[in-house]
């Protein structure tokens, strides 16, 4: 091994590392006296000791070494902190490099600033203990573990000059999301994308026990990482001096290798997948912390995970241990009289936007360019009258997306994501202009797949979500289509991204990013050949728990409404948009202009399906979702055939948020408009795509809410015919029509006859499907009679 660091540089880098470690310990423990210029007393110590020390010195060590190669090679690099618990380390480093004080001028580079810096950490009204949206340079929340490496890859796609260093903790490495993330290298093209440098940080322990990867043999670990497609460089030890040289040597090698890979890939010859370099850093957990506390080994032990030393008031001697620990970093050699980092140390950090805390890629809104969008009106299906034609909604949206890809091909800032379902979800038009991207071996019979595709397919909703988040957070745009039921795989990732967006809005220097837009299709009502395991419309309920400021849910009932919604979502910022739409051939209801106006309103009366004019109706039939809309219309048709005097109003809801009062959600329509539409006392039979409770929840504060009767998914499912799925859950035309009759007092005398009619139609349906295996022709071929 070479020793690339001169004695002087090594000494200064070690000092820089000590400074970061010192400030990290300070943040966890101190509320005042940040430079220990007074004798340490309990008054200087926080009453509640909160934070995570264990991973922090390793993060600081890596940061210092990255600074060196960034400076020496003028690299464009960001730092993704998988062990986000090490928040104090990232705060310390961005402070030392000057970024922190630029973003937060009240935290200056002097003793007063240091006092505020240490105190604010995990302090009410201060900053959270994890790497978070508030942390300069971060695109990865350090709370729920598992997503660092996929975020890193997402950031690197289409950023050819960027190197994304990603520290993966050995705890995080046990998660499923991280375990499959290593394979992201099969989707990164060294010619057009940047590089990801994974640094697997083996510090050996989780909260209370050893980690898997720290306790397998060197050979096994080496094989595993090579099997994942990497060329690992191991940096192992505990002696700082030796470790600095080893790390510097490894850094030089991996930067050379990355440069060589990129040079080769960009030389014009055919691009093959290289074995990308990575680093395995095995260093003690809680490195440089107390060796022992109360007789128990602490450094290099799980006991360093959070606060290795507590009960400072209660246990005699603990305060002294803390003081000695702090003094061991020799702050007096690091900061000047004013409390500013010494210039010869400050000179180790890069400057300007090369500082990892200031790199604009980590504040993607700075780099965001609007997508160029074709006019969605040009893609509208011709719908001469409601129900006159059939169409497949997602197929129409696919043509629009195809042209979005084309228009933004120059900017290389738009990708389509999905777990192997782009074609199955009938967005296949995109393959007219691009391919799936894949860096695995390709063979002659492969189709629609290449090194340069802009469609990212992998059978992992986690990877799709994580790549897309990373792509959006670094200032680009994307679109994620998924089977509705399986989007629950990323419920928790959705949570974390929603929280990130929510917090980002209150971080003044964070600029808005493009929204994360889901198209959920292959939905609950049309799982004809997949059955119960594929039938779950609950994601929208999950979404609805998040802050109104960051979530939107749309249920376009046909192709032209879907077009308008997709266009709107691709223009939006800082939201999570959920669109639920079908892919099967279905009747089309609105022509282009009507669809656009309907989507702009969010919900509205379909006059052509209503017959009450300006009068109060006997009942309101309302619906959200494509299959519910068709069944609700069929119910109306049946009612008007069987009870021509019934006066009905038909309402369709595209934007579920519009049902809520404006005090709850900005899309909500006001109470007067709501009452005018839904009446204040007439029955409202609402046919909903998902679980019924959601509609009650959204309309809970409306005057007529007691009269809302919701038909929706009741967790009844199997492999059966499309109409039978509706029947099983009573959202079908017959159950809906019967419910209307039953709730209109004026028609009480017809209930019995109507119930008989419905029972006989349902029996006929049931007999037919069991005998013939498909729906009755008059059901399959039903058309709106209007």
């Amino acid at each position: 091994m070479t020793n690339p660091l001169s004695a002087d540089l090594l000494a200064r880098m070690d000092a820089y590392w000590r400074a970061a470690n010192y400030l990290s310990v300070g943040q966890i423990y101190l509320r005042d006296n940040p430079l220990l210029r007074e004798k340490l007393t309990l008054d200087h110590v926080k009453p509640r000791l909160l934070g995570h020390w264990g991973t922090t010195p390793g993060l600081n060590f890596i940061y210092a070494h990255l600074n060196r190669v960034i400076k020496e090679r003028d690299l464009d690099m960001i730092y993704v902190t998988g062990p986000g618990h090490g928040g104090p380390g990232l705060v310390a480093n961005t402070y030392l490099e000057g970024t922190y004080s630029e973003f937060y001028p009240e935290i200056g580079e002097d003793e007063a600033g240091l006092a505020k810096l240490v105190r604010q950490f995990s302090w009410p009204g201060g900053i959270p203990s994890h790497v978070a949206a508030e942390t300069p340079g971060s695109i990865n929340e350090g709370g729920e573990l598992g997503y660092s490496l996929m975020h890193a890859y997402g950031a690197a796609f289409d950023n050819p000059e960027l190197i994304v260093t990603c520290v993966v903790g050995d705890g995080e490495a046990e998660t499923g999301a991280l375990a499959t993330s290593w394979h992201s290298n099969k989707f990164l093209n060294p010619a057009r994308d940047g590089a990801v440098l994974p640094i697997l940080h083996l510090n050996g322990y989780k909260i209370a026990s050893p980690t898997i990867l720290a306790r397998i043999s060197h050979d096994e670990l080496d094989a595993l990482l090579r099997g994942y497609g990497y060329a690992p460089h191991f940096v192992e030890g505990h002696d700082p001096e030796l470790m600095h040289q080893a790390m510097a040597s490894a850094m030089d090698k991996v930067m050379d290798e990355i440069a060589a890979i990129q040079l080769a890939a960009r030389s014009g010859v055919e691009v093959q997948r290289p074995a990308w370099p990575m680093i395995v850093l095995r260093s003690p957990k809680g490195w440089t912390g107390p060796k022992e506390v109360d007789g128990n080994p602490t450094e290099d032990s799980w006991r360093s995970h959070q606060v290795p030393l507590s009960k400072l008031a209660e246990v005699p001697g603990h305060l002294k241990v803390l003081e000695d620990w702090l003094l061991s970093y020799r702050a007096e050699e690091l900061f000047d009289d004013a409390g500013k980092l010494l210039p010869e140390l400050a000179a180790l950090a890069p400057s300007g936007n090369r500082r990892m805390g200031a790199n604009p890629h980590a504040n993607g809104g700075l780099l965001l360019k609007d997508l160029k969008l074709p006019d969605f009106r040009d893609y509208a299906l011709d719908v001469p009258s409601p129900g006159a034609v059939e169409g497949e909604s997602t197929r129409v949206a696919g043509a629009f997306l195809r042209d979005v890809l084309t228009l933004n091909d120059g900017a290389q800032n738009f990708r389509v994501f999905g777990p192997d379902e782009t074609q199955s979800n009938r967005l296949g038009a995109v393959f007219e202009v691009t391919d799936r991207v894949f860096m695995g071996d390709l063979i002659e019979t492969d189709r629609q797949i290449s090194r340069d595709g802009r469609v990212m397919e992998v059978l992992s909703e986690h990877l799709c979500q994580g790549w897309l988040e990373g792509y959006l957070l670094t200032g680009r745009h994307g679109f994620f289509s998924c089977y509705e039921a399986f989007i629950h795989v990323v419920d928790s990732m959705f949570n974390q991204h929603a929280k990130w967006l929510n917090v980002s809005k209150s971080v003044p220097w964070r600029k808005p990013i493009a929204s994360l837009t889901y198209l959920l299709t292959s939905h609950v009502w049309r799982q004809d050949h997949n059955g119960f395991s594929h039938q779950d419309p609950g994601f929208i309920d999950h979404v609805m728990n998040k802050k109104a400021g960051v979530v939107r849910v749309y249920m376009p009932p046909d192709a032209n409404t879907l077009l308008s919604v997709v266009d709107h979502c691709l223009r939006s910022r800082d939201y999570i948009n959920v669109i639920v739409a079908g892919k099967q051939p279905e009747p089309q209801w609105l022509d282009g202009p009507a669809a656009e106006a309907h989507c702009a309103a969010g919900l509205g009366v379909w006059e052509w399906a209503s017959n009450c004019g300006t009068e109060e109706p006997d009942a309101v039939v309302a619906c959200a979702g494509d299959v519910p809309t068709m069944e609700a219309l069929a119910a109306v048709a049946l009612l008007r055939e069987q009870a021509p005097d019934i006066k009905l109003r038909f309402v369709n809801v595209v934007d579920l948020m519009a049902l809520q009062p404006p005090s709850i959600h900005p899309h909500g329509i006001d109470d007067a408009a709501f009452d005018a539409m839904f009446t204040t006392d007439k029955p409202v039979i609402f046919v909903h795509h998902g679980y019924p409770a959601l509609i009650h929840r959204l309309t809970y504060r409306r005057s007529n809410h007691d009269n809302f009767h919701v038909h929706g998914f009741q967790e009844e499912g199997t492999t059966t015919t499309p109409f039978d799925m509706a029947v099983l859950n009573q959202i079908d035309r017959f159950h809906v029509a019967k419910d209307v009759i039953d709730r209109v007092p004026r028609l009480a005398d017809r209930r019995e006859a109507f119930a008989d009619l419905v029972a006989s139609r349902l029996a006929e349906h049931n007999d037919y499907i069991r005998e013939n295996g498909e729906d009755l022709p008059e059901i399959r071929n039903w058309v709106w009679p209007g």
Copy 2:
């Protein structure tokens, strides 16, 4: 390579495989004429062609080869079908071995039975197209991919004689859950546990594109699997004859290796982790299917994924292709005149419970023994009067669990699962009698970890959930504790397990299994040092969407109620129980008998906190959850101090399901009791642990529901003090008390003064925490004045 199969055996095994393939194709295509004894016409073909052919012939091939080694070695084996889409294959094989007709006598072993068998597949009222609860021998739903290998390991734990063969599809292998599952071998002890034989089935394609693992080099794949800790045997090719010999040879080797590993591990020397054998089967997707359809390669292509040949009525010649395909299996050489499998072929299957479809481990309820439970009353905290003592609820539950472990040590049928949080969640008493289990390297300083522990910790909620599901489904018991926020990681796994339980109830031969019980702790209100990313109480909302018959949610407010709930949950069957309880020191409210009675009722009036006697109160103060209960009681105390004439009723809810009408959930109390408790017209101020909407949802059909005013989590969070978290979300005593005053008309004249009081208390709180970093002493040390 040796050729272990004689010509005769090879011929018969190939015939058996052809029979399974024939019946698989038949299920997908035929509604009648199962043996093609009439000329095939469109009338014999299903109108809707549903199913997945691609993976099926590989699954059938493996099944036939497993049958051989089971018979030859008298093995106790079950088959976990990762590519569950291959449902027809498993149905075909369990039919051929005779199991299917035993479980479903109407599907006999003759031509009439065959006709029913093929017709029922994906037919309304028939069976689903995936491997499911209805499939004999299955413990793994073949819908959402990713969970096969973790289920397999869960089944193998504590089943030393069992071999669990698990086919992992190369599509499924891309999921996060599966990618981390390989590491399960670090938790399987060859001395006390059974064996898992993973068979990675590389058939090359997902729905529409190649898989990752099929398109990396042999060396990389080999390294990856060795890195995961396995010794892979590769079986690769397409010629059936060669493949039969190669597979038989590999099977013999892996069975020898498993036997040798187990012999060594059980010989009394120290157990080390072996490199477990596994098989990589690379065979064509849609093997033996049509080579080409309409000029496109079909066998060995993604085009075989679902139905490789469709539009039989529309496209001339397709019917003939189907007929030729069916004829290629030469059914006349496989079935006798009556339609029964020929005896020389039937003899290839094992008999009785050795048949994989009949193995009782795959119908775990058959093997289930009740847990021996200590009397939970013996663990009750002494609570002389409400609020008189403090306690940590989960610590008390930990002592109970410790003794559950001890009492069932002989049966070896209980384990505790959690992502590295057993100690952190204060269940550490279990380590007095057992350890964490770990087969990685151990070092001298390790504590509470060994080869024989019964606590399963890994930083993957997926693995915890999947192992536990596999353990329960094979007839054992377990307990899963988790940080509340991160249980969302397994939302989708919860969905699939709930669906499995739901369907199992209607499968007559499936016996009840032990419930899956979650303890969610480290909850939203006490994330003192973790902040916003760790604050999410939404899992219970997600749970509530599932069928009432399979879900239960409990919110014990203190240690003694938690004890009663845990005892109840461990006795229950076929449910998913969710318990939310705190781990921090908190006031204790109920003594043992009171807690037991309260839990039995599910909810009830706490008379000692009420002052309305038998009269109607001015308002009802209700609560669910530990922190909400404390804040609600503090609000009551404040109200009685400030407005001594106010008449309040105090209701605590342990069992959230009790709020629902009995028509919705069996735990629901009847309307009369509900109205007596909550009144029909008085304000109910409800302080809830989670998102407020849930309480509205549960009480929606109750007469007084318009008067429910719910305080709960409003998605406001950060790293702050415990009381400040309550204030941020307005569940604190001050906001709650003010809401009560504001809603009692009789006290209208005191609203202003009370509002001033509350404002000043909140300002005092806010100033104090920002200055001191912890809650006011009178908040921290608050005691119930009663």
